[in-house]
């Protein structure tokens, strides 16, 4: 019981120490991993607890990211100017869609509400019709593909394939300055911590148990008088909001948002992290997301061509030998050492 709590403390301490020990470059990378970890928490909720394999998490990540990027671009351009990419895309007047994003409150609200609303409506449509399992996975994949095409096609509005780059400030912080970067890192770590707690509370609540019940026997839950579609929709919405927040943080952390981040492949890569860490356990998902992305950085620095073999191979191995991820491995080790057995379903 206690060593779980101890490790939590150690993690917090480590995260707090990181800005002191890491170079700004490495700290920036760690902040990026934390953004992915935030998405991973949402995926662990939707997929691990709710059984909804979403391949379109990139869409919500993108909605949050673009909302934030629009505000930062407008902030930079000042009251009269146009964002740089509009100038070279031949747009002469600020499009109406952009205007409200000059307001920071509106932009922050949009970061949460737009992905949430889209996910809620989509979930309502899809889950009411009892589209599930593989169908849902493929539909969410198609959604990601369509979203990317749409973004790319509207170059004057979105920056096209280039997306938006060159952000220098973030709510008064100077992103070119190491101290500004440390602050952004701290915000990312804080958001991750808060969302992790929220997700944990959700999982432990009555709602969380209902969610697992829906995953394991949707029709049975329906016969008991609950509405599984609503349970799934709410969970899907929560996970989308998390992805949106992660996207919004990704913009100041990495300094770029582009359709390349939102397509099918990045969405799948996020799943790799969750699967490796263990989708049924929130902390496992976070650890997996950080570890896999860290491995990606490390390996692509040393042998770029081999990364795909490694990534693909790792994925296959984990699914075959440790379907519950690293978390599952740790669990079986603990059982062997005489801890009280943990009951596992699914």
């Amino acid at each position: 019981m206690t060593w779980g709590r101890i490790s939590l403390v150690v993690c917090v301490v480590l995260l707090a120490l990181a800005p002191l020990t890491l170079s700004p470059f490495r700290l920036g990378l760690l902040a990026k991993y934390l953004c992915f970890a935030i998405v991973a928490v949402g995926i662990a909720l939707a997929w691990g607890q709710g059984g909804m394999l979403t391949l379109g998490q990139g869409v919500f990540f993108g909605l949050g990211g673009y909302a934030m990027a629009m505000y930062l671009k407008l902030e930079e351009a000042g009251s009269a100017g146009l964002p740089d990419f509009m100038v070279w895309s031949g747009v002469e007047e600020l499009p109406a869609l952009w205007k409200p994003f000059g307001n920071p409150v509106f932009a922050l609200a949009a970061v949460v509400l737009v992905p949430g609303l889209v996910a809620f409506l989509l979930g309502l449509l899809v889950f009411r019709q009892r589209v599930r399992g593989a169908y849902f996975a493929i539909l969410s994949q198609a959604l990601a593909a369509a979203f990317v095409i749409l973004l790319v096609g509207q170059q004057g509005l979105t920056g096209g394939t280039n997306g938006m780059t060159n952000f220098t400030g973030f709510f008064g912080l100077d992103l070119t300055d190491p101290n500004g970067q440390r602050a952004v890192y701290a915000i990312a770590a804080l958001v991750l911590g808060v969302l992790f707690l929220v997700a944990k509370l959700l999982v432990r609540s009555r709602f969380g148990r209902l969610l697992v019940a829906v995953r394991d026997g949707e029709d049975r839950v329906r016969f008991l008088g609950y509405d599984p579609a609503l349970v799934k929709t709410i969970t899907f919405t929560v996970s989308a909001v998390m992805a949106g927040l992660a996207g919004a943080l990704f913009v100041p952390v990495v300094g770029i948002i582009s359709p390349a981040m939102l397509g099918i492949v990045p969405s799948l890569e996020l799943l790799v992290g969750v699967a490796v860490g263990g989708r049924f356990v929130l902390a496992g998902a976070i650890a997996g997301a950080i570890a896999v992305n860290y491995a990606k950085t490390l390996f692509s620095e040393d042998f770029a061509e081999g990364w795909l073999y490694l990534q693909g191979g790792l994925f296959v191995l984990v699914l075959v030998f440790a379907p519950k991820g690293l978390a599952g491995v740790v669990e079986s080790v603990r059982e062997r050492f005489g801890r009280k057995p943990v009951e596992v379903t699914a």
Binding site: S23, V152, T161, T165, A287, S300, E305, W307, E343
Partner: protein, 405 residues
């Protein structure tokens, strides 16, 4: 119940991941010009969809580094290339650029292909006051003090191609492009040109990157009956487009297609029989006859295989290394500001002929060439500009281009 006991214990899982990140900091290090070595970064996509094009540019750049080292290096020091993978992903380009600059402390970076990758790297280089050499023809309208552009800008490729078509009496044009920044900007320029010179633009169509179904588009072209098609499609789409164009009855004799992103390497993938007789616009072909090119082609084939071809972006990447080396020699140091100052006016006898760095906008004066694709996959030059054209990324010296920038 499960998750409760579970997650408590498993928060411990965060430990290894985080510890690993925390402990492995600052591997390598070392200054760009320490001891008797100079580190240079090479940053191209070695995986993902862009690898198809960028791997060959990396090869050409590595060849140049090797040749320079064989001749004694720069300032008496050997060049040590540090290669990174941009993975066809723009944020990765920015991340790796930062890594090359702050971890490896390279003296300069050669890299990028797509506009998006350059736009992603630009703030990184400007912020760190480091140098990037960008080797691909692009859409212009940019002139960063920390980027040298060794590929063509629009007035060295697109405008000469339009001049050529106009001189051939082509009055009606159809524009086809992939949906991204270069084709859209190029077509904006083409439309401004057409409006000024009385050329009719019959259609302007974009397809998503990686699109492979062109029968509808070909049908639209057949219906519009243009005199020429201006093609800014990118990568794999060109293969599908030309294969499907061939069966449609549109021939190079009636409707030539002018491509600005199809070079020798792409011709090989499309199949020469599918694209023979159509036109391309570049500054260099493998068949270009200069002494420097004979040596370049021979060295490239010797290093990478006799079946390899050379192309314009490869040559521009190859030149970039030499141009930088000359600028360093002139400056007497690899220090960025000194190199930038020394670079203006640097001239080399490149495979494409005489190339000179323009000190004002850090582009390169290049000769424009229109080529005809041959059945054997090589490209025959049918027209070239009288001499190197002065780069003009904002098209300020063209009165019809007034509203563009």
């Amino acid at each position: 119940m499960r998750s409760r006991t579970f997650s408590r214990g498993l928060t411990a899982l965060l430990l290894p991941a985080l510890l690993a990140t925390a402990c492995v900091d600052e591997p390598g290090g070392g200054a760009g010009a320490s001891g008797d070595e100079i580190k240079v970064g090479i940053l191209h996509s070695l995986s993902g969809t862009m690898a198809i094009s960028e791997v060959t540019v990396r090869d050409a750049e590595l060849l140049a580094v090797e040749e320079i080292n064989a001749k004694g290096g720069v300032l008496g020091k050997k060049l040590v290339p540090v290669t990174e993978d941009g993975a066809s992903d723009w944020p990765t380009f920015a991340e790796k650029a930062q890594k090359l600059i702050s971890q490896d402390k390279v003296a300069t970076v050669f890299g990028g292909w797509t506009s998006a990758s350059r736009k992603a790297m630009l703030p990184v280089f400007e912020r760190n006051k480091a140098l990037l050499w960008y080797p691909v023809q692009y859409e212009g309208l940019e002139s960063s003090p920390y980027i040298f552009y060794t590929g063509a800008t629009t007035n060295q490729q697109i405008v000469p191609a339009l001049d050529y078509l106009a001189a051939q009496g082509k009055k009606k044009m159809f524009l086809v492009g992939s949906d991204y920044v270069f084709p859209r900007t190029a077509n904006k320029i083409i439309k401004a040109y057409a409006a000024a010179k009385g050329i009719e633009v019959l259609g302007e169509e974009y397809t998503p990157l990686g699109h492979t179904e062109y029968s509808t588009l070909v049908n639209k072209i057949a219906d519009a009956k243009p005199d020429a098609v201006f093609n800014t499609l990118n990568g794999d789409s060109n293969v599908a487009f030309f294969k499907q164009l061939r069966g449609s009855g549109i021939t190079p004799q009636t409707t030539p297609v002018v491509s600005v992103s199809v070079a020798e390497e792409e011709v090989k993938g499309i199949g020469p029989e599918n694209v023979a007789g159509h036109l391309v616009a570049w500054n260099y072909y493998q068949t270009t006859t200069t002494p420097a090119n004979d040596a370049f082609v021979k060295a490239f084939k010797a290093k990478y295989g006799a079946d390899k071809v050379t192309s314009d972006p490869m040559e521009a990447g190859y030149n970039a290394v030499y141009l930088w080396a000359e600028a360093v020699k002139k400056a007497g140091t690899t220090e960025v500001e000194a190199v930038r100052k020394a670079a203006g006016g640097i001239t080399i006898e490149a495979p494409e002929g005489t190339t000179t760095i323009d000190g004002d906008n850090q582009h390169v004066a290049k000769t424009a060439r229109i080529g005809l694709v041959q059945a054997d996959g090589q490209i025959k030059e049918v027209w070239s500009s009288p001499g190197p054209i002065k780069p003009d990324p904002y098209l300020r010296s063209y009165d019809w281009a007034g509203g563009l920038s």
